[in-house]
């Protein structure tokens, strides 16, 4: 397999897979509507809104072109001229070959960051069109293998890294011991599977496996705030790769597991660790995948920390974070999630020198690691290249620390740091809050 070549399991019966794709297209159109498919006018002005196009300006990377590949199939089966004279409107049959071709377009050339959509001259939500494309491909069994493996891990083991319950418990124990030593207090710890706590805290398994500092920091902040909290050893994963693969059935199941576990533990609230797509999945898409309202509130840790600071439950001293800090906005948290201000308010309170990237908030550029791109190694070269836009933004701030409330973004930023020699440290917001704690 060469770089950028799709790495998918070829369907046993290609024709049958195309039939499933056409059925899914109809189902998706019925469920979500097709306003945005009808509205694209192929003006070609969206190129510079996309980090992938900016770093590799070929027509294939233009958001409108990528969306058109999906819209062409929509037109073929759901518009009059598409049915009777497809060539006139660029409508294409949804064949096995067309589906194979679509894989590289929707998984390999788009992170579904949505920046093109909010800047679209018409107002077409191209990010959502691209996700419809992923839903069609998922139905036809064409999810890239590595991405599907993550989804399978979540479904089979409860977390994307297949961490066992014992491993989680032992990690929680040694992090607790380190934290007790660091804070000089035997009471601070990471509670696991404790019933009747007010809060169940979900984390990215990456925190458990490779980067425990943010989990440790969260435990410190919870302790300082006197929070009643616990983690589950079974379903504690804040991520949901069903959002990326386009498999809503899997996405629903992953959501259900965590919600039901939170209820089983008797908690009043589910708090999500800093994770862009995890926030979007649990907060916004999850109830719609499950077709019902949650019986408990779901909030981001950012909202909780801001509440602690503003209510005086924790005291912070911005002088403890002296280096210049900038903030990377995760697309799914800010653009699709609506959370742009809590992290800024927090950073203003806990950092001595906080500067914004330009552009920021809903106009931020994707770091290149979104849309499950980090798990699809076949697109690794393009991912790092597309991250140059973000690297240039970071470089322009002269910041030494890049805070980002997303672990996928953090992974990509760490790689960009190495590749583009940025000389930065990448931190979660909770780590900066922990550093600034006054106990």
């Amino acid at each position: 397999m060469t770089e950028n070549e799709p790495n998918i399991e070829k369907p046993v019966d290609p024709e049958e897979s195309a039939v499933k794709a056409r059925e899914k297209l109809r189902e998706v159109i019925n469920a979500l509507g097709s306003y945005h498919m009808h509205s694209c006018v192929r003006c070609g002005l969206c190129g510079e809104t996309c980090h992938i196009y900016l770093t590799d300006p070929v027509p294939e990377n233009l958001p409108g072109v990528k969306a058109s590949k999906i819209i062409s199939h929509f037109r073929r089966y759901h518009t009059f001229l598409g049915r009777v004279a497809p060539i006139l409107v660029g409508a294409r049959n949804l064949t096995p070959e067309a589906l194979d071709e679509l894989v590289e377009v929707v998984y390999g050339r788009c992170t579904m960051c949505g920046r093109c959509g909010i800047n679209c001259s018409v107002g077409a939500d191209i990010g959502s069109i691209m996700r419809m494309g992923r839903m069609i491909l998922a139905a036809s069994g064409r999810v890239p293998k590595n991405l599907q493996a993550v989804v399978d891990n979540q479904l089979n083991t409860g977390n994307q890294m297949a961490i066992t319950q014992e491993e989680l418990k032992s990690t929680a124990e040694w992090i607790s011991e380190d934290l007790q030593h660091e804070m000089g207090n035997k009471e601070v710890r990471i509670p696991v599977d404790e019933h009747g706590k007010r809060v169940v805290y979900l984390v990215n398994p990456r925190e458990v496996k490779f980067f425990p500092l943010s989990l440790s920091a969260a435990a410190g902040v919870f302790y300082a705030a006197g929070e009643s909290w616990t983690m589950s050893s079974r379903f504690y994963d804040v991520t949901n790769y069903g959002l990326f693969s386009g498999d809503n059935v899997a996405a629903e199941e992953i959501t259900r597991q965590a919600i039901e576990e939170t209820l089983r533990l008797g908690a009043e609230e589910m708090i999500l660790s800093e994770c862009g797509h995890g926030f979007r999945a649990f907060r916004w898409e999850g109830p719609n995948w499950m077709h019902k309202k949650y019986s408990i509130p779901v909030r981001s840790m950012l909202d909780v920390m801001l509440e602690y600071i503003e209510s005086g439950r924790i005291k912070v001293d911005r002088a403890k974070n002296k280096d210049r800090v900038t903030l990377h906005d995760p697309c799914n948290l800010v653009r699709y999630g609506g959370v742009s201000e809590p992290q800024r308010k927090i950073l203003h309170k806990v950092c001595g020198d906080f500067v914004e990237m330009v552009p920021n908030r809903e106009q931020n550029f994707c770091c290149g690691g979104g849309g499950g791109m980090l798990s699809m190694s076949e697109y690794g070269e393009r991912r790092v290249l597309s991250g140059k836009v973000k690297a240039d933004q970071i470089h322009a701030t002269s910041a030494k620390i890049v805070a980002t409330p997303c672990h996928n973004c953090a992974d990509q930023l760490l790689e960009l740091n190495k590749h583009y020699k940025l000389g930065i440290e990448v931190m979660a917001v909770v780590e900066l809050v922990y550093n600034a704690l006054v106990l």
């Binding site: 003006c43 070609g44 072109v65 409107v89 660029g90 109830p287 949650y294 742009s340 552009p359 106009q363």
Partner: protein
């Protein structure tokens, strides 16, 4: 006068409106119930998406392409005027046979001359956009027959409206040229005449619901 042509134009407009409404109903799908807990205000999101979000300061496709955006805008202003023109012509057949009562002749002439210039400029803009689609490698890559044909129809419609202002065309030919545009409107990309508003409203509503819109005072490029 020109009764047959007037009827054809009327039918074409009724067809366009009916077909667009049908498509709107079909495009809605089953309708979405949002089970998530609302964080913002959908109405404010819609208002924002039709106002501030369309300013160059908030939309990169405008700030990075001011010339192309202006050309597109001028063309659409012309289209709007021409559509109003054709509707008035259908409903008030004798409007130009006598001076408009409210205005003395010189003002009437100024209005007509002004409309002609706007329509002529809009026609020029449509021609430029057609040529851009022909000569731009990127646009050619993403275009089908519909994309070229639609802009040519618009150009034809605008030219017909311009000629009608100058009385080069009588009503008859203007009605026929208009009818061609309206008959095709719901079939190809021109249907964005409706879906521009619906898509922008839906997107604004969704982002408003989530609290993304109205966008916070971000630092812009």
């Amino acid at each position: 006068m020109f009764l047959t042509e007037r009827i054809i134009a009327s039918v074409s407009i009724i067809w366009a409106i009916s077909a667009l409404i049908y498509q709107w109903i079909k495009a809605r799908g089953k309708g979405r119930i949002d089970y998530s807990v609302q964080a913002g205000n959908p109405i404010r999101g819609i208002i924002y998406n039709f106002t501030w979000a369309m300013l160059p300061s908030h939309k990169e496709t405008i700030s990075r392409h001011p010339v192309w955006f202006s050309i597109g805008l001028l063309m659409h202003i012309g289209i709007f005027i021409a559509i109003v023109q054709v509707i008035i012509d259908i409903l008030i057949p004798k409007q130009y046979m006598v001076p408009i009562p409210l205005f003395p002749n010189p003002i009437h002439d100024v209005i007509i001359t002004g409309l002609f210039f706007i329509l002529a400029i809009a026609s020029l803009c449509a021609a430029v956009l057609f040529l851009k689609r022909v000569f731009s490698k990127t646009l050619r890559y993403m275009s089908s027959f519909d994309d070229y044909f639609s802009i040519l129809l618009v150009l034809d419609f605008l030219l017909a409206a311009s000629f009608r202002e100058l009385r080069i065309f009588q009503w008859g030919p203007f009605f026929i040229h208009s009818a061609i545009l309206f008959f095709y409107l719901p079939l190809g990309k021109l249907r964005h005449a409706l879906f521009f508003f619906i898509a922008r409203a839906e997107y604004g509503s969704r982002l408003g619901y989530r609290g993304t819109y109205p966008a916070k005072s971000g630092v812009k490029e």
